[in-house]
């Protein structure tokens, strides 16, 4: 792939990027700087801060109590992203290969949930899965269980909520890359004796990898910091990173500790992204190098 194609280079920045850069500076870089500074000072007795530098906030974060929450969040975010991928790939495939007539209808169906308010949507899930909800009622009426099953206030429920909420972010990039895929390649595969599994695994998946990686990042990153869904669906038992941070700011009034946790969360996201992209780029790189070595 020709990622090394030369683009017009500007000395500083192209003028058209200036408004964006101004926006990013004012609303992203400066607040981030503030968060970073806050994470390095002490908290005041009645909230607020005391201008005295300390690493205490970071030291506190490495307490086992908090580390467990980090790991739990990481696990749930990974689980959400993988679940979204497993559910989303067939969905995206069906949409991308559907008749042109139905394709836009299916895409709209996928996006419709975005039109309802996020909190309402999440509450709807809570009602759906509640002990008195329609799902339990139906299961009991059909005689599957005699007692209603309690989903609410569990990690399972949080997982269901996260997957439901983030699925479109996985499906859309997957759809884009499957839609671009040249299906005569699958015919070529079949012609050469590839089974459906081999065709999928050795032809379709490698060629839709950009969609898989984009979708994964789009789901994993916000899932790691999610605080509303665990709050609404998980109750007090499912404390995640996002909840912990929110709590520091809103309940504990411990802004410096909250800032430190935020910085750590951001670092985790950044490091995971760098790893994913590095691995990906490395494959591309070896390809380019192999070509260069063989000359043109």
């Amino acid at each position: 792939m020709s990622s090394q194609k030369s683009r017009t280079r500007y000395k500083l920045v192209p003028p058209i990027a200036l408004p964006t850069m101004g926006w990013m500076l004012w609303f992203l870089m400066i607040p981030m700087g503030i968060v970073l500074i806050y994470s390095l000072v002490m908290k005041g007795i009645y909230g607020g801060i005391v201008w005295q530098m300390t690493f205490e906030n970071y030291e506190r974060a490495f307490d086992w109590l908090y580390l467990k929450i980090f790991l739990q969040s990481l696990k749930l975010a990974l689980l959400t992203a993988i679940s979204c991928l497993l559910i989303g790939y067939p969905m995206a495939y069906v949409i991308a290969t559907a008749n042109q007539k139905y394709r836009s209808a299916l895409l709209i169906l996928l996006i419709i949930p975005f039109w309802t308010n996020f909190v309402v949507r999440t509450y709807a899930l809570k009602v759906l899965f509640s002990e008195q909800g329609p799902l339990n009622a139906a299961a009991m009426a059909l005689g599957f269980f005699s007692e209603p099953i309690s989903f609410s206030n569990s990690y399972g429920m949080v997982w269901i909520g996260m997957v439901t909420n983030y699925l479109p972010y996985m499906v859309l990039p997957l759809y884009v890359s499957i839609e671009k895929f040249d299906f005569s390649l699958l015919e070529a595969g079949r012609d050469l004796g590839a089974s459906s599994w081999n065709n999928f695994w050795k032809v379709l998946v490698p060629l839709t990898k950009p969609g898989i990686i984009t979708g994964f990042i789009l789901v994993f990153t916000p899932a790691l910091g999610e605080f509303l869904i665990p709050d609404l669906l998980g109750g007090a038992r499912s404390m995640l990173m996002g909840n912990l941070i929110t709590e520091q700011f809103l309940k504990m009034r411990d802004w410096p500790f909250g800032s430190a946790l935020s910085i750590i969360l951001m670092s985790i996201v950044l490091i995971s992204l760098v790893i994913v992209i590095r691995v990906w780029m490395k494959e591309e790189q070896t390809k380019v190098e192999a070509e260069a070595a063989h000359g043109h």
Binding site: L185, R190, D191, L192, G193, P206, K287, A290, E291, H294
Partner: protein
């Protein structure tokens, strides 16, 4: 078993037939909903033949090829390869491999892995894999590109990799779906020759789909000309060009000058026509025996068709045994090897004759100018007679194979 017995076995007829890979289509038909893509078709393609399917886009040639390859199931009919029915088999169990229209190379794999794909799917690895891949790449002269990414190759190089990839499993029949259409003219001509020499060297059956008549004429042992889902005519290039059996074939392959008229008189040697030309025109069987006279009755409305290169432009009145039309040169188009004249017929206002003369024989452009009054003449043996709405029946031809006809 004695050595003699073994020898006898090998020379026996049964074994010879066993080795022959003959492709047979019986009543093959394909419809997509209400549209008939391929109407019931029978075809026999011999072992080692370079067989082309030629026709305009939408004529069903690609659908027919895809049914051979196993990518479409025929609506009705059967396909046999060496007597084994294959039309219900999946593509890879047919011993047919396809070179796809835009090659369909795997962009995420390098040249080696693309070619090796078919072997890997058959669980072949190690030295055999390496040997067979380099053998295939050598065949298409791409050995030095082993580890290049296919996306960096030129069109012609991609074409060769596609060929090597399709040939790696040693198919009995190679199916080529417009393999040259994505190349530019120069490369197309070069690849055409390479394809032909590859086929000669492998002695393998090639089935070649194209819409380019010149391509089909120059490489094929035999051509099937298709139109609207029907095979109009099957024959050698020469048969197709010199003796088109339908109006469509006559008009689709090359160009034709058409003069309308009706039969005045006929015998076994010649047919005479009267009509718009205000002169008696004569049709005789062609000298090489390709084209016998059709069966006609007096007064039958017919059309006489003459290829542009069979016409001669003359300043003076031609020999009495020649057909001719008087006219005026409207346009002179110098094309390098040939010059093309457009001649407006004097007696028939609607007739514009196209004449092509080679420039080596006559310095054609110097001799004739626009506005010159000339004669366009042709031999009675050089024209094709068709009915007004379709071909005329030919009695002799049907029973006697062309090759066996003696030249007069």
């Amino acid at each position: 078993m004695t050595l003699w017995g073994l020898k006898n076995l090998f020379s026996s007829h049964a074994l010879l037939l066993w080795f022959r890979s003959m492709l047979e289509l019986k009543g093959i038909r394909k419809s997509f909903g209400k549209t008939e893509a391929v109407r019931p078709t029978d075809l026999v393609i011999q072992d080692g033949e370079f067989f082309s399917m030629l026709g305009p886009s939408g004529c069903g040639k690609t659908t027919l090829l895809r049914m051979l390859g196993g990518f479409e199931k025929p609506t009705a009919g059967e396909i046999y390869l060496n007597g084994i029915r294959i039309d219900q088999l999946p593509p890879h169990e047919r011993q047919c491999n396809t070179v796809f229209q835009r090659y369909a190379l795997f962009p995420h794999l390098d040249v080696f892995e693309n070619v090796a794909f078919g072997l890997r799917m058959r669980k072949i690895s190690g030295t055999e894999l390496n040997e067979r891949v380099s053998e295939a790449l050598e065949l298409v002269q791409m050995k030095e590109y082993l580890h290049r990414s296919v996306t960096t190759l030129s069109g012609g190089q991609q074409q060769r990799i596609a060929l090597a990839r399709a040939l790696i499993n040693k198919p009995k029949v190679l199916l080529l779906d417009e393999p040259l259409s994505a190349l530019d003219l120069k490369l197309r001509q070069q690849m055409k020759v390479e394809l032909l020499s590859l086929q000669r060297c492998l002695k393998q059956t090639f089935i070649f789909v194209t819409h380019d008549q010149e391509e089909a004429l120059s490489v094929s042992d035999r051509i099937a000309v298709m139109n609207k889902g029907v095979v109009d005519q099957v024959g050698t290039s020469q048969e197709i060009y010199e003796f088109p059996r339908t109006l469509f074939v006559a008009q689709f392959i090359g160009s034709m000058n058409t003069i309308e008229g009706e039969v005045k008189d006929f015998n076994s040697q010649a047919i005479t026509l009267a009509g718009s030309a205000k002169r008696i025109l004569t049709v005789k069987p062609s000298r090489d025996g390709f084209r016998p006279l059709p069966q006609v009755q007096s007064g039958l409305a017919v059309q006489m068709m003459i290829r542009p290169e069979k016409l001669k432009v003359l300043k003076s009145s031609p020999q009495p045994d020649q057909n001719y039309i008087e006219g005026m040169i409207k346009e002179v188009l110098y094309k390098g090897p040939v010059t093309q004249f457009l001649i407006q017929a004097k007696e028939i206002p609607s007739l514009m004759m196209t004449v092509v003369q080679t420039n080596s024989a006559v310095s054609a452009k110097k001799t004739f100018n626009m506005g010159d009054r000339v004669f366009a003449a042709w031999a009675p043996e050089d024209c094709i007679l068709m009915g007004k709405d379709g071909p005329l029946p030919v009695s002799v031809f049907e029973t006697e194979p062309l090759e066996l006809r003696a030249l007069p």
